[in-house]
Point group: C2
Chain length 155, copies 2
């Protein structure tokens, strides 16, 4: 099978991106799910939910589904279980009762604020092996790529 | 919450990598699962299995699990279903009967060789918006990162 070199380069980039993603995700999951000095076990999915609300508290269920890159059904279950455990609460939007918004409780905020720095340090340890210039360029190029993928209407 | 700028940069890199990965994967899945002029529907998981065997036919089940970054149980089911559909066959290793190896059938080989170029072109369309220099650097940096993650014993 003959392949155009630039096509082969693209496939190689994708393959490396897949591998880096999988390895980092496995490490980060392990870090989140076994972080020390926490009582309740937190799953990576729940961490992502709380972190997303920490960035934008009161998000609509529908926008959480997009932000977390999971299906609407999965978000509903995830939020219901987090509510049962006292980490978030759901309430209809004041203006449009059809929209359900999700808020961190005090317990949810305490939990995520304890975990975020541990998570950030962990991510940093995985990436700090790259040289400063490589890191800057990687961040910039991934930003460009993300923009291209958005422009192309891909989601 | 005060955060060291280089830690914040790492978190931003990871977040961008997550987003690019999710968007590309969704597009690639759509491309694979709806590729034109194919009769049998192929899932992305099955595509990955056949592509992995195309690179290294006769892989052991255990090494497929690693290569595909899925659990041993999932690989067993995936391989069993592909065998049922006549795409692969399993056979014990000639030297060590405890090792199960997986081989492409003629039908499996035809299927993957028809899909690989479609897949490669699709991946290329997603990445060709990057400038040639950016592409080269991105590939190199992801290769460096992959090596670092391997060196650190992360899998």
């Amino acid at each position: 099978m003959r392949v155009d070199p630039s096509v082969a380069e693209s496939v190689s980039i994708w393959f490396r991106l897949l591998t880096c993603h999988a390895r980092m995700l496995a490490e980060i999951r392990r870090g989140i799910e076994t972080a020390p000095s926490r009582r309740p076990t937190i799953t990576l999915a729940r961490f992502d939910l709380l972190a997303s609300l920490h960035r934008r508290d009161g998000s609509a269920l529908s926008s959480l589904s997009e932000a977390l890159l999971v299906s609407a059904g999965n978000v509903t279950g995830l939020v219901a279980r987090a509510e049962r455990d006292g980490l978030v609460r759901r309430a209809p939007d004041a203006e449009d009762r059809r929209v359900v918004r999700v808020w961190l409780t005090r317990k949810g905020r305490t939990t995520i604020e304890r975990l975020l720095p541990i998570h950030a340090e962990h991510v940093h340890r995985l990436l700090e092996g790259l040289a400063p210039l490589e890191r800057r360029r990687l961040r910039k190029t991934l930003g460009t790529l993300r923009g291209r993928l958005e422009d192309a209407g891909l989601a």
